[in-house]
Symmetry: C3
Subunit: 144 residues, 3 copies
């Protein structure tokens, strides 16, 4: 976690865009939240406008981003709003700057209903997490 689903109309993002956008999203969490990079998953779903409708109309130039993440310091509404504003700015090269319409929402999911490679991820700021961050992979937890 986080896990992002990016739904976009055919042709709006090519392979290089997808890679660049996933890197940009990963950097956000890595730099701002100090999460291990491998925590961040981004799935791209290309659609044909006759399979995706906004307001009942086929979506020709509309990108829809759906995110599930673990609640951390984000429970406060004001913090959530600031995060969203920052997020839209962070991704502007892929959204606003391309003359698209787009919508983003995030859901918080329970911390304890989450595993990576069978591990319950270590507590935020723990030594275990520091090691996962440095090595960019999961490993046996030492419980500290």
């Amino acid at each position: 976690m986080p896990m992002w689903h990016v739904h976009y109309p055919k042709g709006v993002y090519d392979a290089a865009d997808r890679r660049a956008l996933s890197t940009r999203i990963t950097e956000l969490y890595h730099e701002r939240v100090k999460l291990p990079k491998f925590y961040v998953s981004v799935a791209f779903h290309e659609f044909d406008p006759e399979h995706f409708f906004v307001g009942g109309e086929p979506a020709e130039r509309f990108v829809r981003i759906w995110i599930d993440q673990i609640a951390r310091q984000n429970a406060d509404p004001e913090r959530q709003r600031r995060w969203m504003v920052m997020l839209n700015d962070w991704l502007s090269a892929f959204l606003a700057d391309r003359g698209l319409n787009w919508e983003i929402h995030i859901d918080n999911t329970p911390t304890d209903f989450w595993t990576i490679d069978g591990y319950l991820p270590p507590p935020y700021g723990s030594e275990d997490e520091q090691r996962w961050l440095a090595e960019n992979k999961s490993s046996e937890l030492l419980g500290r």
Copy 2:
């Protein structure tokens, strides 16, 4: 928001059905909840029954609807149940009347983790929302 994902077996809905169903869903929120039409996104995901299982069996005649929406007046359980009953009735031409099996669930997601075109959508009933509703598109918020 709301955002609907409609998972259906190949052949159950054609292009005209998809458009009609997305229009029907949009009208629900527009007429009953007075939401701007462009708030409503509907993604159709056609599956091959060998990629979708119900109770361990390939799903030949099963439609699965997965919805994320912002909690408004819906936090009360009794209201939620009434909404679900109404919703099933509203969509009967696409579900019950076709002899399908189907399942629907809705998740409430945080109000403040949501943007459209980079804007934090205006408060329910505000002048800004009235304008978005009338114009069926986002525009600079005036904060009233």
Copy 3:
């Protein structure tokens, strides 16, 4: 409910694997939680690694499982952690034993925002639920 989405790289699961994994998931809820089998939906989404990134890198050997379920006895964090440990063990033949990396998360969604075949599913342990369980299909609710 539960509803599982299994995102996997092309070639990692074939048709027999998908069927076996969906059966295994169904048995989990049927045997451990005594849910009717038809409550369990599993959607498989095969991806090309150039459409799915982990830490900004194409996901070659990574399976991502995303689950929405109704909260039952699972609200306690310790119970949630135990459930996750058990779940990873239960599915090891499809995950750990294949040398994959994988991530799983579950979200709890509101009990009263859920219908099957237009019915609000009967209360846990009710006679109605016992009948649905025995017959493995929905039927008119008797309210007991």
